[in-house]
């Protein structure tokens, strides 16, 4: 190993560090350490002059290692790595000691804080000696994309990619495209026809030569990694088709809540209690009738069936409130003499145009009854002398009274829930699900369509209940992310990943099961495991587990961590007594 020439840079961070830590004392002590050529302090190390100081020292003093004692590496590690790169040395020859978040900001005692800062920095010096130059590596990006699910999300993503001239395989389980939107008549709040909206999408998808539509087909296996997936799809004939794709968009949607789980609503027992989707079916056929074939006089809509309930799903299904208002309109226009009651908990009208739609609905002679979360409505059959088929008991919140309202037809606004196959799909494409079963995004706010598996994206209601505009936006966002990757033509894998030394690997396979990204692959012929670095995210689970010590975590090697342990535990002879 070349002789280590280390520069140590201790930041005052204005007074953030310097007011508690005696920075000069740290500098002086570190300057005496073996291998340290220069130790300096500066007001703001991350500022341009601060970085320039490091760059100049690297050039003038021939430094080959740099330790910066400053803030959290989560903050400025990229900044200082860049400085090293600018000075012409490998960026991974940097180590940071966190003496702000872990020292000056959390301790008051100047003597102890200074000693701790000194120890943390000296541990960084010991560690950096074992740092190795690391290079990022690239792999080619296959421009084709697999889109799972032919609902509105899958169609939007496929069209965005296909229109950009990229190959898309659109795989749909059912025998038609359109998904749940295909079961809907009009859409809230503008009362546009869902059919018109879908027909346009479906026609374009079918006509686009870049989009291969595969109905009655399903993904059975996905291997490989970002840029280089191999998908096996079973088509309608039961044949397995092998596809090479660089990205996957999961748009598998949702299913509706099974209303028969709530006994007090009598769904499946009283024939005129129906779900929102069953009402959509009637509307599409053009006739709203009771099971007996009569025109209902009293129609009731019950909100939050399965949603916003501790017993079933605690979340809001987001689309049902506006859909219920839409039904009120549709029922009123189909049966002008009917009485429509709308039984709700809160009216969620958050989307564009929705509040306005709500206001118009309140003017349309719908009776709104507010019930409390803990006291859901109950439905009972009416007697032979009553002029209605059923009664709904409601503990009305605004009046504070318990009342019974008449109904001939009750529509249950069933919420959304993950599909039964969501676990299997998650397993197939290697993504995670939350406690409800929805797919988890890489970051809920900043990275909502990516997942923890590179190259696998999620869009639409498979990650949480969503309306059509949000679904389409997500689908197009996922497509945009993929087009950006395709434009680059290659995937850069981070330089920090695990690596198997095949001369030490005995093929025991303890590591294989541990990798959450299936990046550790067993070669049956060689009888050795190896890491596909483009898939590795550097967690190090396999490294710690490898009983042979054959796997190395680049930038988090055993040697580096041992040096750091020794560094944070300086030995004092007065410990023996």
């Amino acid at each position: 190993m070349k002789e280590c020439k280390i520069g140590v840079y201790v930041c005052n961070c204005g007074t953030n560090i310097a007011k508690v830590v005696n920075v000069e004392e740290v500098v002086e002590s570190l300057g005496k350490m073996d291998g340290v050529v220069v130790a300096r302090s500066y007001k703001y190390m991350c500022s341009n002059p601060g970085q320039e100081m490091i760059v100049q020292d690297i050039k003038n003093l021939g430094l080959n290692r740099v330790v910066v004692a400053a803030c959290s590496p989560r903050m400025h590690e990229p900044t200082f790595r860049k400085a090293l790169e600018n000075a012409g040395i490998n960026p991974y020859f940097l180590e940071m000691a966190n003496i702000r978040e872990q020292c000056s900001w959390v301790h008051d005692d100047a003597i102890e804080a200074t000693e701790k800062a000194r120890v943390l920095t000296s541990a960084a010096v010991r560690r950096v000696k074992y740092h190795e130059p690391l290079e990022k590596r690239s792999v080619p990006m296959c421009p084709a994309t697999l889109v799972l699910g032919g609902g509105v999300a899958g169609l939007a993503a496929a069209l965005e990619l296909g229109d950009a001239g990229q190959q898309v395989y659109l795989v749909e389980r059912e025998n038609r495209l359109g998904g749940n939107v295909g079961r809907v008549d009009l859409t809230a709040p503008y009362l546009d026809s869902a059919r018109d909206l879908l027909t346009e999408f479906i026609t374009r998808a079918n006509q686009n030569p870049k989009i291969t539509v595969m109905i009655q087909s399903k993904l059975v296996e996905l291997g490989g990694y970002v840029g280089n997936f191999q998908a096996r799809v079973e088509d309608a004939q039961g044949d397995i088709i092998e596809l090479a794709v660089g990205s996957v968009v999961v748009c598998t949607g949702y299913k509706e809540f099974d209303a028969s789980r709530i006994k007090s609503l009598a769904y499946g027992w009283l024939p005129n209690v129906i779900t929102s989707f069953e009402l959509e079916g009637m509307i599409r056929k053009g006739k709203i009738l009771t099971k007996e074939g009569n025109v209902p006089q009293y129609v009731a809509l019950i909100h939050c069936v399965g949603s916003r309930s501790l017993e079933y799903h605690p979340y809001c299904s987001r689309v049902c409130c506006m859909t219920a208002l839409k039904y009120a309109h549709e029922i009123k226009s189909a049966i002008p003499k009917s009485y429509v009651s709308d039984v709700y908990i809160d009216m969620h009208a958050f989307g564009k145009g929705c509040e306005d739609f709500y206001r118009r609905s309140t003017e349309a002679k719908t009776m709104f009854l507010m019930y409390e979360k803990g006291h859901p409505p109950r439905i009972r059959e009416a007697g032979p002398d009553d002029d209605c088929g059923m009664f709904i008991w409601v503990k009305e919140q605004l009046s504070g009274e318990e009342i019974e309202i008449p109904a001939d037809l009750v529509v249950l606004m069933v919420g959304m829930e993950p599909r039964e196959d969501s676990e299997a799909v998650a397993h197939l494409v290697n993504i995670s699900r939350d406690k409800h079963g929805w797919f988890i995004e890489s970051h809920p706010k900043l990275d909502p369509v990516a997942t923890t598996t590179d190259g696998v994206f999620i869009a639409g209601a498979c990650s949480s209940p969503k309306d059509i505009p949000d679904t389409v936006a997500q689908a197009r966002a996922a497509a945009a992310r993929i087009l950006a990757k395709i434009a680059k033509g290659e995937i850069w894998a981070d330089a920090v990943y695990a690596e198997v030394d095949e001369d030490l690997c005995s093929g025991c396979r303890v590591c294989n099961e541990l990798c959450p990204y299936t990046a550790v692959e067993y070669d049956k012929v060689k009888k050795r495991s190896h890491v596909i670095y483009a898939m590795c995210k550097a967690c190090g689970a396999c490294v710690a587990a490898c009983p042979s010590g054959a796997i190395k975590a680049r930038h988090f090697t055993d040697q580096q961590i041992f040096a750091q342990i020794e560094g944070v535990l300086p030995w004092h002879s007065n410990h023996v007594s």
Binding site: L504, S506, C508, V510, N512, P547, S548, G549
Partner: protein, 321 residues
């Protein structure tokens, strides 16, 4: 060296003597040894006194094969003496290499060991109250026996060691390898482990390996095992994945889990910790209670993890008060 016979010594420290027997297990090769070498000290087989060794020049011996750990002052004294007189010091067998089975005594205190061996032992006369003391006064003067240390050491904790020949005991072919290497002057870099593989036992093990998920651990006699499948996958503890190969898969081939006698892999600092990692990695549960239940199937993991290497491990011994 062709005209001069190799000068060698074999010593038996704190061990069972199996390593000495292993030398004899080289069968007719032992005759070649006699032709190639003068055996200057081999307490089990050849007449020779410590005094003779003391009278040798420094470096007069070409090679010492030291088997056994260092448990008492005699072991230490002879280790130091032989080191001084030998060009090459070989830690021969698991005990010299890592402390071996005697090293498990580091889980107990010296007093406990004496109590078990001399006071509470049912085969000892019930009123016996005598435990060994280094000095005993008798009529004719004072008798001295070696001091029993409070713990066991591996050989290189006492003297510098040039080569390590692992195994409990080392396989006969390793013994040949070492002797022929010395004779031929073809020695690997000092500090090397000789006669073992750089890959773990699994490399040579013919059992089929799959991904591993274990929800119950068994002792080998508790289940009918499949001889074609990895023992660990069947819930039978096997140290093979954490142990250097080269032994010929002696234990797993007979249906027992590897016991780890060849020691840790080249990059590994603590064999037991690595076995711990491997074993805990295959447990198929995410529930703390269930994990505890599964682990309860391993009654004495520390003795499994450090069966041959406690004195060579990070902590070296127990610190029970």
């Amino acid at each position: 060296m062709a005209d001069k016979k190799l000068q060698i010594a074999l010593y038996w420290g704190a061990g069972c003597g199996g390593c000495d027997v292993a030398v004899l297990d080289t069968n007719e090769f032992i005759l070649d040894v006699a032709a190639l070498a003068d055996i200057r000290l081999w307490p089990i087989a050849v007449d020779g006194k410590y005094k003779d060794v003391e009278h040798m020049q420094d470096g007069e011996l070409d090679l010492t094969l030291y088997n056994g750990a260092v448990r008492n002052s005699e072991n230490e004294e002879i280790a130091k003496l032989l080191r001084q007189k030998s060009k090459i010091m070989v830690a021969f067998g698991s005990c010299a290499h890592m402390g071996g089975i005697p090293g498990l005594a580091n889980l107990c205190k010296k007093e406990e060991i004496f109590k078990t061996a001399y006071l509470d032992n049912p085969s000892i006369e019930s009123r016996n109250q005598v435990v060994p003391y280094p000095q005993t006064k008798v009529e004719v003067g004072e008798l001295e026996i070696p001091t029993f240390y409070k713990r066991v050491y591996k050989l290189d904790a006492i003297v510098p060691v040039d080569y390590y020949v692992p195994g409990c005991p080392p396989a006969p072919h390793q013994i040949k390898t070492v002797l022929l290497a010395v004779v031929g002057g073809k020695l690997p870099p000092r500090g090397s482990v000789v006669g073992a593989s750089d890959r773990a036992v699994c490399d040579e093990c013919q059992r089929k390996k799959n991904e591993k998920k274990v929800s119950k651990f068994y002792r080998p006699w508790q289940i009918i095992q499949d001889f074609d499948t990895c023992l660990m996958e069947q819930g039978i503890l096997c140290a093979g994945s954490a142990t250097r190969g080269g032994c010929g898969v002696r234990c797993p081939n007979t249906g027992q889990g590897c016991r780890g006698c060849y020691g840790p892999m080249p990059n590994v600092k603590d064999q037991g910790a690595k076995l711990l990692s491997a074993v805990s990695s295959v447990i198929d549960s995410k529930d703390p209670k269930e994990i505890e239940r599964i682990l309860a199937g391993i009654p004495d993991f520390v003795s499994m993890a450090y069966r041959f290497g406690l004195p060579a491990s990070m902590l070296q011994r127990s610190f029970q008060q």
